[in-house]
Symmetry: C2
Subunit: 281 residues, 2 copies
């Protein structure tokens, strides 16, 4: 998915938010906004939003010297999500279609996203997720692919959301490789965050090799690219992974909540929708 001109004001909001999380020095925040402004002329609109996010969040790290501004927020999100774990498992356990219930829970977890700048109401999303309507739902493809697959490559998104992913993974009934970001970027899950959510108990946790807020294959490790190329079923969570991988021909099922106008328009769904979209064959 290419970057839209509508993304540009949003990039500045993201820089502002991340910079203030990284430093109390407003001069550095201002400098970052100025440098982002100067970078605009060099940005290609053929890039995907996470490619530009990669540049921007790299710049935040460089200027503030803080490599993980969202560290505490990520820990807190994971703790809060873990406190809901039993409720989530129970909800799925009581569902008629447990796989579908697991998918709903995994999408509900996508509400945790400090990149999109919305305030997070985890409890409300959990209460409402079983009744939400999907704007796009390629569930048949998902189920058929899962049945036919030897294993699942699950590309994770945010810390805390990982707990919700765990609940879905427990319903997949296949070996799962869970891919995280190589290093902190926004509140995206790293190896440490995945382990804190207990994902190492239900999956093999690996790094995708990228430090972008989305699995842009050209920025991933060769090992991950091989995994990706060989996978017969890939689940990719969240907006950043959709933006990075929507042009792929691999058998990807995207699970996400459509949180911004641009993404919603690209998918042809209303903002706030639950989406299960399958691409590839």
């Amino acid at each position: 998915m290419k970057t839209s001109l509508d993304c540009i004001p949003c990039f500045f909001s993201q820089v502002l938010r991340a910079a203030r999380m990284a430093t109390d020095d407003e001069r550095l925040v201002y400098q970052l906004l100025i440098e982002t402004g100067a970078m605009l002329k060099d940005i290609s609109l053929d890039s995907t939003p996470p490619e530009i996010g990669h540049l921007i969040y790299g710049k935040v790290r460089e200027v503030t010297g803080n490599s993980d501004p969202f560290h505490e927020i990520k820990q807190k999100s994971t703790q809060e999500a873990l406190a809901q774990y039993d409720i989530l498992v129970d909800t799925v356990g009581r569902a008629e279609d447990r796989l579908m219930a697991g998918i709903r829970v995994a999408i509900a977890g996508n509400v945790i996203d400090f990149g999109a700048g919305r305030s997070v109401d985890m409890a409300r999303e959990i209460r409402e997720c079983m009744g939400r309507k999907f704007a796009l739902c390629d569930y048949d493809v998902f189920r058929d692919r899962l049945e036919a697959s030897r294993a699942v490559l699950y590309v994770g998104d945010n810390a805390g959301e990982t707990v919700f992913d765990r609940v879905l993974i427990e319903q997949l009934g296949k070996p799962v490789v869970f891919a995280v970001r190589e290093a902190p970027v926004i509140n995206d899950a790293t190896y440490e965050d995945a382990v804190a959510a207990g994902l190492d108990e239900v999956a093999t946790v690996v790094s995708s090799g990228t430090t972008a807020p989305g699995a842009i294959l050209s920025t991933c490790s060769e090992e991950f690219r091989d995994l990706f190329a060989g996978a017969d079923m890939i689940i990719a969570k969240g907006q950043g992974n959709y933006e990075a991988l929507s042009g792929s021909s691999a058998p990807v099922c995207f699970l996400l909540k459509a949180k911004c106008d641009c993404l919603a328009r690209h998918l042809g769904v209303p903002v706030g929708s639950y989406v299960l979209k399958a691409i590839g064959k």
Copy 2:
């Protein structure tokens, strides 16, 4: 009121919106965003937001060659507001305190503001304005100043809002000079817009001389500055005029709805509040 770093993403949203209103050529829109980005390093945060707005909207005019992108929107707003005029007059006529009712109506009209980027629900604002609580209400000062004044200088804001201003002006019982922008900027009222709202029937309409989206005195004409310096009561409408004049020592009463976080924080009120704030002596 100085510009905050929080204003910067908003400037980009404003450029995007105004540029798309001014041209269908997305390349020009992109160029404008890039030029705005490059301008950031030259902007002083000691400037007020309308000073930066002045630069930005000037740039939109220059790059697109469209000197009045909001022309149709302004006409439509005025027509829609005129269709409500009898209802507004009737509402004020039935009120126990007609002056206060006129003030409420004038603030309700401030909902028409395409700079702030919120969608406009004029009918709802009219329905609710009589019941709204003020977060700040220097009504005693307003009434005392009005009683003691020989005349009122009324600094207008947006086209369409002018109809609501007319309803308040009809309750003031003093000669009124109504000041408009010298040339189109966003949807701010010019002479043409004021006359279309019928303001010339209840006030002397003059230009403030500025093309900024707020009465920044250094950009106003000498005639307006003389009027301003000699006025014993000034009513200034809306956010742009507040931002431009909040540091003044003149006897200004600001009437506005606090539409953005930065302004609300500066005033110490919740977003969406009705505000009647008096400064000066």
